[in-house]
Amino acid sequence: MILPLAIKSVRNRRFTAGLTVLSIALSVALLLGVERIRQESRETFASSVSGTDLIVGARSSPVHLLLSSVFRIGNATNNVSWESYRRIAALPEVAWTIPLSLGDSHRGFHVLGTTQDYFDHYRFGRDRKLELAQGERFADANGTVLGAEVAAALGYRLGQQIVIAHGSGDVAFALHKDHPFRVVGILARTGTPVDRAIHVSLEGMDAVHAAESAEGGGDPLAAAMRNVMQREMQSIGRDDHDRDHDHGEHGASANEAQKRTITAFLVGLKSRGGALFFQRKVNESREEPLTAILPGATLLEVWDIVAGAEKTLIAISALVVVMGLAGMLIALLTSLSERRREMAVLRAVGARPWHVFALLLGEATFLTLLGIALGVAALYLGLDAGQPWLEQRLGLFVALRWPSVTEFGLMMLVAVSGVLIGLIPAYRIYRLSLADGMTIRI
């Protein structure tokens, strides 16, 4: 009896009730949205390094090396010589290595120079291998394999030719037009930075810069122009390229590989148990100052750094929820004076005080649950609509999955808070109805 009455009562005050539900829904959507993006960003990061035992790069901070090599956030401070890479790759504990050469870009997407080992050994998620959605791996210096997001965003197909640019900014200042690449493969979606990369062979990367050096070397005017342009770009902070690899070093010589440098390399060990020992070995290497990191441990450092910001965001969202619930409390309390007559009528026809109490509590519960349901619906609609943007701008692939245990916990917390807040007007009208009886004392 009380539930239909509560629903009809809410319907009678549908405008104010609608505003209350809207404010609860928006605040719940915000809270769950922040939590969802927090979880997804963690999962995306963790997924990207799941199969790698160590990452080795030039001497720098571990967090910097992890972010620049795997997540393409920031730039490597220095490079690793090819000799050092070969030396470490040949160590007996090493099962596999994947060299990574970064620094060029194509229309805002990073170009990653690597080897076939990338397709054989790179793992993401729960031990998942990279899979080609279309085409095949690059077999020579002219082929390129696109990440799923690159192909989708730029509308590229197999067989298409692309030209990579100098530096990693969104705007290309110098194009490597002399060595175009042909799209030979497109990877299946992974939900990691792989989706946003353009993969070429290290030989392709060498060829690009060799061609450019040759051109620049043969034409003094062109070489002078190039130098001026590089200085210009360095001064405005656009050119990340030379920090990753120097064109002069690549040269056009036949012994290109010997002069090659790479940004970093991923290492898989035969035994994971030896990771710490191996890390120390690399870090203490005398040949070249290098840093080896354990991706999982370094990721924890990253989370420590961002934990403060995460907590602040969650706290702000929680405050917005509190404001939404406070709005409901105010709306219910202000409705009490006009509803005292309604309660007196109900009491006169036989309603007991707990009926009156339950009516208000039921209303608060109904509004809160409706707000939560609409908030969840708004979140999913928002994520569905905003997914391409999130992936393109933040590199986050936010899957439309069922709410996590934490999210259910947050929903329960909001629901319980709504019910507890409903106790205030419910108790007040209960006391008033006891005092009023069938008459209202003003």
Partner: protein, 266 residues
């Protein structure tokens, strides 16, 4: 119609303890005192009052004299600090709160001066409301061989509020006179033994007042309900079986702080 005069000599010990069916008095009050606060003087102080089964009693008195408080005592919403309030042979003061609520739901219908109806329910839903809180009244409807809805439709029809369209209308769309008739129909649902009316005609003009009372009397007689009607309007006296001046009955001085529902505007 049997009349029961006021008997100021009746003491608490003389109140009979018969079951509802065994007494002709629906209401028996003796030595009743009620005040809103122990430090304040009583607003109701009635030595004795008896109302017989089927009687139509008018309690006449000015606003604020405690009439509405007396109705709340009779309905068991308020509890007297001393004395005996017996309704249908049950001593209301001896009943627990929940039992009093159930007793009221089962046996008493109430009509207020204004704001009688739940604004978000239709005419029919308002009339059927007592049966939602009282299985006894619901059973009585069904014993008459009709469903709750059919009984509501019949009562509304008798009060010139019949018709399918009317029963589905929102009560906020009705005139004050129509609302009072809906309230009358609601108070009579499930044949309660006692109907308490708190100035239900004060918002109506003379013609509508007479028509409303005629309908109310007819339906009370049909349902064999006892009617206690309070009003400040002396012109109504000839229409009732008996009229009592509330000032004679209630031996207190000064005015009550109580305002009847909807009567603040008066």
């Amino acid at each position: 119609m049997q009349h029961s005069p006021i008997d100021p000599q009746t003491s608490k010990s003389q109140v009979r303890e018969e079951a509802p069916a065994a007494t002709d008095n629906v209401v028996e009050l003796s030595g009743v005192r009620f005040s809103w606060h122990p430090a304040l003087p009583p607003v109701v102080a009635i030595d004795s009052l008896r109302v017989a089964r089927g009687e139509r009693l008018l309690l006449r008195g000015p606003s604020g004299s405690g009439k509405s408080t007396l109705l709340s005592l009779l309905a068991g919403v308020l509890k007297a600090q001393s004395g005996s309030v017996r309704v249908l042979g049950r001593e209301l003061g001896a009943l627990a709160g929940a039992t009093r609520d159930r007793f009221r739901a089962d046996h008493i219908g109430v009509i207020f001066q204004m704001f009688n109806l739940i604004p978000y329910l239709s005419v029919r839903e308002n009339v059927c409301l007592p049966c939602a809180f009282s299985s006894r009244r619901r059973e009585r409807c069904e014993q008459s061989g009709a469903s709750v809805r059919e009984v509501a439709a019949r009562l509304l029809d008798h009060l010139d509020m019949g018709g399918h369209e009317m029963s589905r209308r929102q009560v906020t769309e009705l005139s004050v006179g129509q609302q009072q008739r809906v309230a009358a129909a609601r108070s009579l649902m499930g044949s309660p033994e006692l109907v308490l009316a708190d100035e239900p005609t004060s918002s109506l003009d003379a013609d509508r007042r007479a028509a409303f009372l005629e309908l109310l009397f007819r339906e009370c007689a049909r349902e064999r309900a006892t009617l206690i009607f309070v009003s400040h309007d002396a012109a109504l006296a000839p229409l009732f079986d008996r009229t009592l001046e509330f000032a004679d009955l209630n031996r207190v001085a000064g005015s009550s702080p109580v305002t009847a529902i909807g009567s603040e505007a008066r």
